[in-house]
Amino acid sequence: MTEIVLERERMSDSKAGIEKGRSLWEDAFNRLLKNKMAVIGLAYLLFQTVIAVLAPWIARFPFDETNLALGAIPPDLVHFFGTDDLGRDMFTRVIYGSRISLMVGILATAVSVVIGVLYGAISGYVGGRTDDMMMRILEILYSLPFIFFVIILMVLFGRNIYLLFVALGLIEWLTMARIVRGQVVSLKKVEYIDAARSMGVGHFRIIADHLIPNVLGTVIIYVTLTVPGVILEEAFLSFLGLGVQEPMSSWGTLISDGVAAMQTYPWMLIFPCVTLMLTLLALNFLGDGLRDALDPRASKD
């Protein structure tokens, strides 16, 4: 034990001495770049984003152009992903869909992360009665029928697409908070936190500097799990009339539509599904890489 601790000190000494002080983030970034899979993941996500942004220029057909006489045809040189049963080009629909789904994924997850991490960290850290209270509130929120909540939101605020992100984020943050709280509760009692307290470090600094970075790993992982959930839940919300309206599509609605056609026109399901899978796979590898990179305990061996 002592040897390892000494080893660490030596390394940080040398770090201070030989190399210029690098910020934690630069360090992390370098570590990330060394992770092959994470880099591939990042590259793919950037690629996906670029396509999404450039969709109107890349697509060969307008996304709302139907061709009833054509109907659904399998992939060919004109229609890379085939067409759906209304004769719309699937490739166009998938890349337009990516705009919605990526936006939904990022924004809704961001909402849930911000609220969830703060709530969970505070609850776990403060503990005691406050923690009890906050956890009970969480339980209450979990149980409420969110369909009504969404419907009423729509009645009050109209069919705003930003409302969609808020609604989704507000559903997802609950589990995030619970997981973060769990981590914080267990981390709270770790020695270096006690040490920091005894040195008089303020609560907020402790939360910000010690707890959150340690929790970040789990948060990142849970983010990679939230994003697909949110993307697919969006399809359910469009059932309620919230979210994308036809003829605009999202991966969620494309997959939903594709299921009905699974046996007759399988390409209607395969392409959106595969696209979603690749994106999420990339996200996962990136997430794992980020986690490893940001791990404050990662040593340089």
Binding site: E139, S143, P145, F148, I179, G217, T218, L269, M277
Partner: protein
């Protein structure tokens, strides 16, 4: 510990009360009601219907009346399934969801945790990537895609199972598998992450340094801490899985409780909504309690005294 458990069980009452109150008013804020239909019902008949269900009384009065009923354990008749009471419906359908859910959960835990361990045992190796890729499939393919696929493969092509229905024990299998696959993926990811977190801790290094064999380190030390995120997630997940899923129950035609959560809201079946909401609130409180107890067990530093 005992005091802790008792305190938590007592908190059920205020939680349920708040849930009931919010739900009661929330439901009635949404447009539409239990009696709206495409063929416009004449005014007078609508009024008669509302009188029958005390809906013509002022809202606070309806609330008090209903709450009094609920306190006695009577959740009232369903607005939609008029010959049944909500209590009956829940009593009949929960066991079905619970059985499917339990099987699904066991399957998910087994496959999920084991593959998480498998992946974490050699991070960033081929086995890691492959098992995470597989679990990714479970997350990307929602149950309304997997369900029909399983049905196609196992019930129609291979004919190992019935297409749908709830008549023999083997009817539990396909729904449970469909339900569990997504959760298995979650558990796999969370377990892997949790283990990787713990592995870097000092006490694990110590154990290794002491020369303990890999699997022993894993099971005696790593797993306890590593399961923490999975267990956190398990609380609400267990409540959700036990109360069933609308999608799985519709696809496989299972008389479970899951479909009512969505359908009763869409039908504005106020009493059934309330019943299902209260029921799941109860389950969530209980599950969270179990999870918190598990925390203490998994991480000796956590205590509730």
């Amino acid at each position: 510990m005992l005091k802790f458990i008792l305190k938590r069980l007592l908190s059920v009452i205020p939680v349920l009360w708040v849930v009931a109150t919010i739900t009661f008013f929330l439901m009635r804020l949404a447009p539409g009601g239990p009696f709206s239909s495409e063929k416009q019902v004449p005014e007078e008949i609508l009024r008669n219907l509302e009188a029958k269900y005390h809906m013509d009384e002022p809202l606070p009065m309806q609330y008090v009346r209903y709450l009094g009923q609920v306190a006695k354990g009577d959740l009232g008749p369903s607005f939609r399934y008029t010959s049944r009471t909500v209590n009956e419906i829940i009593a009949e359908t929960f066991p079905v969801s619970a059985v499917v859910g339990l099987l699904g959960l066991l399957y998910a835990l087994m496959i999920g945790v084991l593959s998480g361990i498998f992946a974490a045992s050699k991070p960033n190796s081929l086995r890691d990537y492959l098992s995470m890729a597989f679990s990714m499939i479970g997350i990307c393919l929602p149950s309304f895609v997997i369900g029909p696929m399983f049905m196609l493969i196992f019930a129609i092509k291979l004919e190992w199972f019935n297409v749908s229905g709830w008549n023999e024990p083997k009817d539990i299998v396909l729904p449970a598998l469909t339900l569990g696959t997504m959760y298995a993926a979650y558990f796999a990811r969370l377990t892997r992450a949790g283990i990787l977190d713990v592995i870097k801790q000092d006490y694990i290094r110590t154990a290794h340094a002491k020369g303990l064999p890999e699997w022993l380190v894993m099971f005696r030390h790593t797993l306890k801490g590593g399961l923490l995120p999975t267990v956190s997630f398990l609380g609400p997940a267990a409540a959700a899985i036990l109360t069933g899923s609308l999608v799985v129950e519709s696809i496989f035609n299972i008389p479970g409780l899951g479909r009512f959560f969505v359908q009763s809201a869409l039908n504005r079946d106020y009493t059934l909504v309330m019943g299902t909401v209260l029921f799941i609130a109860l389950l969530i409180v209980v599950m969270n309690l179990l999870v918190d107890i598990a925390y203490a067990f998994l991480n000796p530093r956590i205590s509730y005294d």
